[in-house]
């Protein structure tokens, strides 16, 4: 019986986030859209009607080159008769994988370093912050290009490059949050009660930075997806992996970017919509992190 009357923690981030959704239509739209993308990403293999490299022929035998959208090929075909719809579907998985893996790496590294720096302070903090400064001074795209050249183009290297250069932001933001949390009386109370550093970091500080970290993670997901697309577009991507950036890259180098709008627009729109949905969700998260931004 006790269980039934359990109190809900109305301050919990999830609660605030969900109740925010009720008011913020854009955020709701973002969540729904994002879930749709995730669904497509997870089941992309099942959903894609064709392989990314399959060639399609007319009944008479000719190749279905550059066909505008039709029932058979909802987004039309490429210059060598490939199904763009399937490519876009399969690209969803790549985008989500790159985005989430990179963001995960970034946020884990960034928050661990941020928490350590902010919590311990002193020379540890100074040292870590100098490392952060160092990474702040490295230009992103040039670095990714060089790294891609050093390690050869592959999707993993892009994830690595994004992670290497982006954890700094998270670390910095988490650190300043931790600095203020560490001064809260309830943290002091925990120390007075005898809690060790690890316990404080894990049980007290971490839960408080998680909403912020999630928010940063959302931005990082976007950043990583955008980075992958940009790097692929410049030709430093992984040509063996079907990704939106890669589709646009092939589209651009094939010379049909202007003529075949059905080839240019869907991958671009996919990027826009995925990123937009995450931004909307992030905005709602932002309201969780920063109550001032909440709508009354």
């Amino acid at each position: 019986m006790k269980m039934l009357t359990r109190h809900i923690n109305k301050q919990s981030s999830l609660y605030v986030f969900l109740s925010n959704l009720k008011q913020d239509k854009l955020a709701l739209f973002g969540v729904v859209l994002l879930m749709a993308f995730v669904f497509v990403g997870v089941f992309s293999e099942q959903l894609a009607p064709h392989g990314p490299r399959d060639r399609h022929y007319h009944e008479e035998g000719g190749i279905r080159r550059l066909e505008s959208p039709s029932w058979d090929h909802p987004f039309g075909t490429t210059d060598v008769g490939r199904d763009i719809f399937s490519q876009v579907i399969l690209g969803t998985r790549t985008a989500l994988m790159v985005g989430f893996l990179a963001a995960l790496l970034v946020t884990i590294v960034g928050s661990v370093i941020g928490i350590i720096a902010g919590y311990f302070g002193g020379w540890i903090d100074s040292l870590l912050m100098r490392v952060v400064d160092f990474f702040y001074a490295i230009p992103f795209i040039p670095f990714v290009i060089v790294l891609a050249a050093v390690l050869q183009p592959s999707i993993w290297n892009i994830i690595l490059a994004v992670s290497l250069l982006s954890w700094r932001t998270v670390a910095r933001i988490v650190r300043s949050q931790v600095l203020s949390i560490a001064q809260r009386p309830y943290i002091k109370a925990a120390r007075v009660a005898g809690a060790g550093h690890l316990r404080i970091m894990v049980r007290y500080i971490l839960p408080n930075v998680i909403p912020l970290v999630l928010l940063e993670m959302a931005f990082m997901v976007n950043w990583a997806i955008m980075a992958e697309a940009s790097v692929s577009f410049l030709g430093f991507g992984d040509p063996r992996v079907t990704s939106w950036g890669q589709i646009l890259h092939i589209n651009f180098i094939s010379g049909y970017s202007r003529q075949a709008w059905w080839w240019t627009i869907p991958p671009g729109m996919a990027i826009v919509f995925l990123l937009l949905s995450i931004f909307f969700v992030a905005r709602s998260l932002e309201a969780v992190v920063d109550p001032r931004l909440r709508k009354r």
């Binding site: 490295i138 992103f140 040039p142 050249a149 240019t264 990027i271």
Partner: protein, 323 residues
């Protein structure tokens, strides 16, 4: 203030050396030596060896590093393998194009972003606010190269309003900075790329300004300003916006640094002869000195902008004093 700046500059120099070391090592571990792209495959092997020697690439890594560092101290980035001229001059000839494009993009973004952000915060909850946020986020979600391609398609090719490619009309004469950059022809070429880049940047000042305004508007001194009977406009611009601007300015300076490196895509799409395109080419052709040089210069600019951000902040906010 001055000692503070001096100290920061000192730290900057140390950082630059670290970055230079990192980039040096990265290039040396890159597969494919520069001669591979320098000579035609039909050229004999001995020739390639001779080339390596000419550029000092046959030396041990440590010796190469020492030479590189010694030169760096003298601000000598060496000669570009490909241009056959000092790296600094190659960079110098490209830098203005990149800077101007970027600064005008920032100008577009900041003008629209700051005014729009302030307006949005003041008119909190109006439908136009959502529209503004969504608009800026759409452009932040769209890859610049993609928007750039679309823009060329629509505004240059279909409507013919702006030139599609390059920084000026073919065969345009003029040698001095002013002749090259201060004229209508150049401006016409600048408009499209700077708007495309500006739209991408827009979300940053817009959202920061909005959030910062919301924050400032809940400050007591705004209520106090109201209680003083000041007109709304004066409160908005003189008190709220002025204070809300602080984080925007900082973000801006940091952003300039980040934008320099990110300009590549715009430059490729618009055939803009800037530094971004140069570094891509330098990397693909293993033109070590040039790529290293550009990388280090961009890093230096980024760090410098960081410093500028802090200094400007101190100027805008009397509470901050640096020692």
């Amino acid at each position: 203030m001055l000692p503070y700046i001096a100290k920061r500059l000192m730290v900057m120099v140390i950082m630059l050396f670290l970055i230079a070391t990192m980039i040096f090592l990265m290039f040396r571990t890159m597969p494919g030596d520069p001669t591979a792209s320098m000579v035609d495959p039909s050229i004999p092997r001995e020739a390639r060896q001779a080339l390596l020697e000419r550029y000092g690439l046959h030396e041990s890594l440590w010796t190469q590093y020492q030479i590189f560092m010694k030169d760096l101290v003298r601000l000598d980035f060496g000669n570009s393998f490909f241009y056959n001229r000092p790296v600094l001059r190659v960079i110098g000839s490209r830098m203005p194009a990149t800077l101007i494009l970027m600064l005008s993009a920032m100008l577009v973004a900041y003008l629209a972003g700051v005014l729009g952000g302030a307006w949005m915060a003041w008119h909190r909850g109006s439908p136009l606010e959502s529209v503004g946020v969504t608009f800026s986020l759409i452009f932040r979600s769209a890859p610049t190269f993609w928007i750039g391609l679309m823009a060329i398609m629509v505004f240059s090719v279909m409507l013919g309003w702006f030139p599609a490619q390059g920084m000026r009309s073919t065969g345009y004469t003029g040698d001095t900075f002013f002749e090259i950059f201060v004229n209508r022809d150049f401006l016409r070429h600048l408009i499209l790329p700077s708007i495309v880049a500006g739209l991408y940047f827009l979300a940053t000042p817009l959202l920061i300004m909005r959030n910062s305004m919301l924050e400032v508007m809940s400050e007591d001194y705004i209520e106090m300003a109201r209680a003083k009977g000041l007109p709304e406009r004066r409160i908005l611009y003189h008190h709220a916006a002025r204070n809300a601007l602080l984080p925007v300015v900082t973000a801006g300076a940091l952003f300039i640094g980040a934008a320099i490196g990110g300009q590549v895509l715009i430059e490729v799409v618009f055939s803009w002869p800037g530094l971004g395109r140069e570094i891509v080419q330098a990397v693909t052709r293993s033109d070590y000195p040039l790529a290293q040089g550009i990388f280090i210069i961009i890093s230096a600019i980024m760090m410098f902008m960081n410093l500028v951000a802090d200094v400007v902040y101190a100027f805008l906010d009397p509470r901050i004093t640096y020692r």
